[in-house]
Each structure stands twice: as C-alpha cells, then as structure tokens.
Symmetry: C2
Subunit: 248 residues, 2 copies
Amino acid sequence: MTEYPVGATETTARVVEALAAGGETGVTELAEEIGLSKASAHNHLVTLQRLGVVVSEDGRYRLGLRFLDVGTTVRDRLPAYRAAREELTGLAESAGETVGLVVAEHGSAVYAAVRRPERNDRRVQTGSRLPLHATASGKALLSARSPEAVASYVEETTLAARTDRTIQTASALRAELRSVADRGLAFDRGEAFEGVRGVAAPVRAEGEAVAALTVVGPAARLSGKRLEEDLTGLVLSAAKRVELTLAE
Amino acid sequence: MTEYPVGATETTARVVEALAAGGETGVTELAEEIGLSKASAHNHLVTLQRLGVVVSEDGRYRLGLRFLDVGTTVRDRLPAYRAAREELTGLAESAGETVGLVVAEHGSAVYAAVRRPERNDRRVQTGSRLPLHATASGKALLSARSPEAVASYVEETTLAARTDRTIQTASALRAELRSVADRGLAFDRGEAFEGVRGVAAPVRAEGEAVAALTVVGPAARLSGKRLEEDLTGLVLSAAKRVELTLAE
DNA sequence: TCTACCTGTTCGGTAACAGTGAACGAGTCG
DNA sequence: CGACTCGTTCACTGTTACCGAACAGGTAGA
C-alpha cells in the first residue's frame, strides 16, 4: 500500500497547498514547484476551477474563498465554539489582549476563533496551528488526557522545539501537565514564540477537554500580577461560564 | 473529454461537500449519499484524514478545521480585505447593523468578512454565497462591469429567483445597474431573503469594483430615512475611505 | 450464548484514467 | 521578424481508482 489510497487527491492537495503558500501562480511555475508535468498541473488547476475552489485570471491561478465557506461551516458546528462565541468577545474586552478558542486536531492546537483588540500581530490568527506541547492552550488540552494518550502524543511529535523554552522531554511534559491539571490552568512563557506569553484554561465537557480559552500577548505586558492574577482569573471564569453553557 | 480532467479530485470534492453539508458521517452512509462504493468512499476518507483535512473518531468521520486555515490565509491576501478590515468594525458600530465585505467569485457574491452586532441571524455569515443579481453588494459589484460582461453573467446564471422581488429579466437588471452606477449605491429590498434589506457601495480600484461594503438587516429596521440617508451615507463614506486606503 | 445484522476495513481484478512528453497557438521582448 | 516565454491541447501507457465480495468487530435481540 502506498502512502495515500487515492493518489490523485494527494496531488490535488499538493496543488492547493502550493497555492495557499505562494498565492497567485502560473501553470509552469506551479508544475515545477510541486514536481509535476505541466499538463498534469494544468489538469488539476482546471478541475479545481470547475469545482469553484480556484479562480483564474488571464492565465494565472489563485485560490478562491470556498475554503472560507467550508471552514466557517465546520467551525459553526463545533459545540465549544457556539458556546464560547459571545464569551470570547467579552473576554477580549475585559482582558484587553488577543484571546482565542483553541481545539486539538491531529496533534496540533488549532485556533478556531481569535478576537484581537490590536491588529498588529499576525502570528496568531484563526486557523493557526501550533504544537500542543508548546502553547498554553495546547497544554490545557493535553492535561485532561490519559497518560497513555500523552505518551503516544510524545511519540508521534517527538516534542519538536520552537524556542529554547519549549518543553522537549517527556518527563518535563508530564510534570508540567500534572501542575496544569492541578490548577486547571496552563501558562506559556515564550515556548511557541520568543517574547510571547499566554494563559489558558481548558473547557471541559464530560471529562474531556473539548477546547481551551486562551489569552496571548507580548511578554512585556503579560507579566507579574496582571498575568498571574488578573488575566488568569478572567480566563478561568470565562472557561467556567463556557462549560456551563456547554452543559446546557 | 469529461467534465473534470481529474476525476478522482471531483470525487474527493463530492466527499468533502457531503461532509460539509451533513456533518459527521460513517463510511456506508457517505458511500450511499454520493453514490460510491463503500471501499472507494473509505479510500477517500482515509486519504483526507492522512492529509489532515478529515478527523476520525471511532469509525465516524468529520471535517477538521484545515479549511479554516487556508480560508483565512486566502482572505488575508485580498487587498480589499486588508484595506477594509478596520473600516468594517467601525461601520458595524456606527450602523448598528450587520455589515459585510463582499467580493465576486464564480458569479456569486461572497461574504469575505462579516461583523454582526446581533448574533441571531445566521443567514449571512463569512463565506456565504448569494447570486450577484439578488443582493445589494452583488449589484454594486456588477455595476462596474462592461455591458458584455453583464450579458455573459445573465447567460450563465439565468437570473435565478430567490424571492418574488428578485430581478429576473436582463432588461430589468440593466436598468437597475445603470441607476446603481449613477448613484454609486445599490439597494436590496427583500431580493435575496424575504424581509431582509440592504445597502451596498462598491469599492473601486483602477476602474474595477474589487469589493463592496454592505449593511444588511431586517426590513423593519432598514427603511425610510434611516436606510436611505443614514446608513446609505455611512456605507458610502466607509467605501470611499477603503478606496483611499487601497490606493495607498 | 448464539444468531443475525449492522458497522468499518481489507483484498484481487479490471477498465478507466492520471500523468508524461511533445506539439500547438498566442503573447512578448529584443 | 525571430526567439524566447507562457498556457493549452493531444495521443499514449502504466498506474490506479473504483468495484464487488469477503473479512473483522461490535451490538441487539432472543
């Protein structure tokens, strides 16, 4: 068996990925980029265009907004998102920092929604993916998992480092997760991005952590009492409220 | 030549579409829904899962948030969106109604962004698609096109009706677009949804209408002076400001 | 416990087709 | 006007996407 049962779909995915990364492109350029014949690249582009995923303008191709459509539809189906939507805006206002709702997917922490009072920072945006072990929200999500589940996560990801503060050993992660589980709170002190800190609280439903609420921002502003008491309190109480809404 | 050069990709698209419409599903159910053998449906699902697009949980499959990722990436690349982002929130506040940034794609008006002061209405959300001729924003976008381009649009879409107020003849559309072009403004009076009205102004760049700013809401609130003077003025001036930002 | 019947998954076989390389038309630059 | 580009089309062929059937694993009911 090969890697992917349907090879052509994998090729299409490579095309889409290249378009997502590089923006507008021509056929030849794309074909070279993903190592495909010009004819085949053209076939995929035409197919995607007919499907309404790609738009073409005088010989150049780029992705359309179809993905946005599907993406928001999927997100709107998440119970955690529906329950947290209003709470998020409230949290963003009271915290005065960028806040997000994060869910775990394929071993990554995915920002399902972001509310940002300041527009400067594009490092965290809706759809962003970061390693679970390198973010406050990710650790909050991991903290509710069984030791075996955490062990298999460690095995799969090998705890890739993003900064020199990123947790890189299984034992350090276990210890951290224990303290996170105890406090119902996780911190990120420059573990995903240099100089970026965060707090996160899990949103639990039926024993599982289905999502995490998080506040992130520059270390300069997120420190001392503000981080460890004020923001922490806000995130915790917001998460509790979301849990209540979620439980009906 | 068939309809789609790459048949397998079209099949995958059918799978994704079914998942987007129906939410979580099993293999057998999906196979029946899209008229595919169980084995083939399974192959596609496994492929999509390996690609990180689909997540599976004890035998059931659903779409993940990958689409949200690429969707926001694509949107963030739109110059019109970057220019209008802040203006949108301002407009939402001053108008006190749901506002949106709309672009044309494949003959549809697509909401690239939505700011909604009230959360009740889910008919218009980010990624929503509506016919160009049935919405204020769509007509604003069409109004800048050449007569030939409009004619080919009419031919492609046959001006499908959504309500009994929807413009359904080519001559009526031409007349409407002329008045829209003259005033730099378009209205929607229940043409897309019964009881929903809207105003829109095109955002022009180099002669083309690259996007449209729109305010939408219930007819009960959008009428008389408020619609025709207050909101109209707000949308117009906001669009002008976006145009200025866009021109650098 | 056994049976019957759901699932999801795996397994050959074959006809369709995804991918190739080369040729074609249409711009564009020198 | 030639010599490049580019996007698109065309036949060919080895691959493979799809099918039908068998397999595995769980649940419901008697």
